[in-house]
């Protein structure tokens, strides 16, 4: 067994003779035995053959000194290449798509970047569709995502910091920020928290989001999520910090506040007046979606006298002969709605369409005709179900709260609804992300930040960055002479 075979055997053992660990021996510089090692599927084989092995095989110039130095400096200098002796580093680098080249009678290994992962093309994400504006979305590859952001932030101030997390997954995580805007203490806090993570694997950015949030058990998310580079770039310009995770098309943003869910990228690509109206509509939609079924149940069961008489007569006619109480009836439909939703999400697309038709038309209609449920209850739950998507990022939370408020309304009436609302708001005031209150700029009310709060002023009026997002460079723009009030 020659020296190359001995070395390759060591690496084969390290990889437990895995089938995707490839060892390819060849002759370099006409008479020097060499070997290329890589993980199959992570490298560009075309490049390996034509860009790396061929120059080594064809080279007639025999290196005089250190072979590794010669190869790195002269033969494959146009791609990222380095020499290394540490076995662990060599293995980790190979796992990240590098090819390791060993030469006979040399201790040093040359590592050449030949990465080629299977990458999806950046498409419009299904959850962040826009009428107008950029349609690019993040993909599962961290390099592509980094490039998409860099394309929008062409400044040396925009910085990526790399951390590798996960004992087995060795997932690359990048902290992105604009160092002349983001507050250093926030960056430091995030870095410290990330460095403390001790986990076997990071499969998606949600793993990191869950670890980073202050409260473990919470209804509302405390870390922002974005699927589009234009949104993340805009947030970075406000002083936020982004976290990119390899293998995840979702980029995390910190700090995160509730108003971000009311805002939509469409708002910035349409008129301010329309954007403001839409924001208010979204909030009202979400609030009604949470409270309406519970209030309906409470009114019918305990406070009929509050309902105007004409309306009451109409409802009474509809619910006549229904075997279930309004509470159980609404609860039944809410559960039915959630089950249909869950089933339609997980079913194959062609079946999902059929299921939605069956669910909406046949099940609903038949249930009403059979006298199991009343038309107002079906309409109300369907309406609130649709309304919950006015804030798509919070739709799951809204669905959960709708169920809770239905139960509260059915057991405690309006009294319970009022108490529930107060506790919900109080709970929300307690949430926060990296020192920023969740409900800000509504509470604590910040006058300056109302320009991009529940209402949206023209971009020319937003001369300063939001004060609620910690930053070290508050001024955003000078006076734009062209714009008139």
């Amino acid at each position: 067994m020659n020296s190359i075979q001995k070395i390759t055997q060591i690496y084969k053992n390290k990889f437990n003779n895995s089938a995707d660990f490839v060892v390819r021996e060849f002759i370099a510089f006409q008479n020097c035995k060499a070997c290329a090692m890589f993980v199959d599927g992570t490298v560009d084989k075309q490049f390996l053959i034509s860009g790396m092995m061929k120059p080594l095989q064809d080279s007639k110039k025999i290196p005089e000194g250190n072979i590794a130095d010669f190869v790195v400096a002269e033969l494959i200098g146009f791609v990222q290449a380095k020499k290394e002796t540490n076995q662990d580093i060599i293995i980790n680098t190979m796992l990240n798509g590098f090819c390791a080249i060993i030469f006979e009678n040399t201790d040093e290994v040359v590592l050449v970047d030949s990465t080629k992962w299977i990458v999806r093309t950046p498409n419009e994400p299904p959850t962040s569709a826009v009428m107008k504006g950029p349609r690019e979305g993040f993909v599962e590859d961290i390099m592509t995502n980094s490039i998409l952001l860099r394309k929008r932030l062409k400044t040396p101030d925009f910085v990526y910091e790399k951390i590798v997390l996960g004992k087995y997954t060795k997932t690359q995580v990048r902290i992105a920020y604009i160092n002349s805007i983001a507050k250093p203490s926030i960056i430091q806090q995030i870095k410290e928290k990330l460095e403390k993570i001790n986990i076997d694997g990071i499969i998606d950015s949600h793993y990191i989001a869950e670890i980073l949030q202050n409260r473990r058990h919470t209804i509302f998310k405390q870390i922002g999520e974005a699927e589009k580079p234009d949104i993340v770039a805009a947030k970075l310009l406000e002083g936020r910090v982004a976290i990119l995770v390899d293998g995840s098309p979702i980029v995390l943003t910190i700090p995160y506040i509730f108003i971000e869910d009311i805002q939509n990228s469409n708002d910035y690509y349409s008129s301010s007046l329309r954007a403001s109206i839409l924001r208010i509509t979204r909030l009202i939609g979400a609030v009604l979606s949470i409270l309406l079924p519970g209030t309906y149940v409470a009114l019918l069961m305990y406070h009929c006298d509050i309902i105007p008489i004409k309306f009451l007569v109409s409802i009474a006619n509809s619910i006549q002969g229904i075997p279930l109480s309004p509470f159980l009836e609404v609860l039944f439909i809410v559960f039915l709605f959630e089950m249909l939703y869950e089933a339609s999400l997980r079913m194959p697309k062609y079946l999902g369409l059929a299921l939605s038709i069956v669910g909406a038309l046949i099940l609903g209609d038949t249930a009403v005709k059979a006298g199991l449920v009343s038309p107002p209850a079906v309409m109300l739950v369907a309406l609130t179900g649709v309304m919950s998507y006015t804030i798509p990022d919070q739709s799951q939370q809204i669905a959960f709260l709708r169920l809770i408020f239905t139960i509260i309304g059915g057991t405690l009436g309006l009294y319970g609804i009022v108490i529930g609302s107060i506790i919900l708001v109080a709970y929300m005031t307690n949430l926060g992300s990296f020192g920023t209150s969740y409900l800000t700029p509504m509470s604590p009310f910040t006058y300056k930040d109302q320009k991009d709060g529940m209402i949206k002023m023209p971009i020319t009026d937003m001369q300063y960055r939001p004060t609620v997002i910690p930053n070290i460079n508050p001024k955003r723009q000078g006076k734009n002479e062209n714009s008139k009030h």
């Binding site: 305990y302 009294y415 107060i422 307690n430």
Partner: protein, 361 residues
């Protein structure tokens, strides 16, 4: 740590002024002073206004001093503790009163027969949650709801002002000044809420325009109360003294609102939110007293002790000693005035000493 900003403190002051006076005070005033109740209202508003201004100044002059430090500084350790016990008792009785009032309110408007347990458990849970979370949560929750509450009050009562005729309250001083003073005396329990603010000492960020904002808040709150009293009398006339929660049913008689539709439920919901948050402020205040008296660090234990005290009083009132407590109720006006006087005296002393020190500097 200062967790409540000046704006939030301003809102707290506004609701503290109107809170206990919303429901039963106005009918109570009318039962003693008839149509001169408005003058009773004005007289008491002036006194209470001055008390609020006094406390606001004390908080401004002692931004980093907590309640117990303040009392020890100006009254000494022993007397300070005694006064804290008096303040604690004052707040607990007010809280008990508010709890009963809240129950009656819901029985009147939402449930014909409300199970006491079904009422008390969610009520205690709600106010307990807010009080345990502390002044920051209370302030922020109130801040979020303030717009809705204010809007509700405006819709239900202020919009009716346009329909008030000048002759409604006339003739003035028909029975001399005694009924006015009588009204003031028998409504003393509804006042003195300003001392609750002392429990927020050391937690308020004194920011720009503190004086202007807080004074404006107190002034507007009292103006609002007087306007509500006028609207109430206009709507109900002499029968107002028999209707305890007339204010919540006011939109029914408001031509502006009845033209739009039936909005009295809005008033009921808004009033409910207002009284829950008000109760939590009182519980928070009693928590602060309890923590200082018993050297407790965690809010949750102070809340538990307060709940036990409240339950004992509620049970005594309901089952065992109604006569004795009725007697206490009878002398409450006098006790209330005595407590308010003592606390006012201390605050005046603090202001004078503070002024002397400032001059020396």
């Amino acid at each position: 740590m200062k967790t409540v900003n000046t704006n939030q403190f301003t809102i707290i002051i506004f609701y503290l002024v109107i809170s206990t006076k919303l429901f039963t005070m106005l009918p109570n005033l009318f039962s003693f002073a008839n149509n001169d109740a408005i003058w009773s209202m004005i007289l008491f508003s002036i006194i209470d206004f001055l008390l609020f201004i006094l406390i606001i100044q004390i908080i401004k002059n002692n931004p980093d001093t907590t309640l117990i430090q303040f009392l020890h500084k100006y009254c000494g350790k022993f007397l300070g503790t005694i006064i804290l016990i008096i303040l604690f008792t004052f707040i607990i009785f007010k809280l008990l009163f508010i709890s009963q009032e809240t129950h009656s309110f819901f029985v009147e408007f939402l449930f014909e027969d409300m199970n006491m347990l079904a009422y008390i458990l969610p009520y205690l849970f709600c106010i307990g949650y807010l009080a345990i979370k502390g002044e920051k949560t209370i302030a922020q929750t109130l801040e979020i709801f303030s717009v809705i509450i204010l809007l509700g009050f405006i819709v239900s009562s202020v919009t009716a002002l346009g329909y008030v005729s000048k002759e409604t309250l006339a003739p003035f001083f028909q029975n001399g000044f005694m009924p006015i003073l009588d009204g003031v005396y028998h409504s003393s329990f509804y006042f003195g809420n300003s001392f609750i603010l002392l429990c927020f000492m050391g937690k308020i960020k004194i920011e720009k325009k503190y004086n202007l904002k807080t004074t404006l808040s107190v002034t507007l709150a009292f103006l609002f109360l007087i306007l509500m009293a006028i609207v109430l009398y206009e709507s109900y006339g002499q029968t107002v003294k028999y209707i305890d929660f007339a204010i919540a049913d006011l939109p029914k008689y408001n031509p502006f609102v009845s033209d739009v539709g039936r909005l009295n439920w809005l008033s009921v919901v808004v009033c409910s939110i207002a009284i829950f948050i008000q109760s939590s402020i009182f519980l928070y205040a009693s928590n602060q007293c309890c923590k200082n008296l018993l050297k407790i660090k965690k809010n949750i234990w102070a809340t538990a002790i307060n709940f036990i005290i409240l339950t004992i009083f509620a049970l005594l009132y309901r089952y065992s000693l109604p006569n004795m407590l009725d007697a206490i109720n009878g002398i409450w006006s006098f006790v209330s005035i005595a407590i308010i006087s003592v606390l006012t005296l201390i605050c005046i002393i603090a202001i004078i000493i503070g002024g002397i020190k400032w001059k020396k500097h």
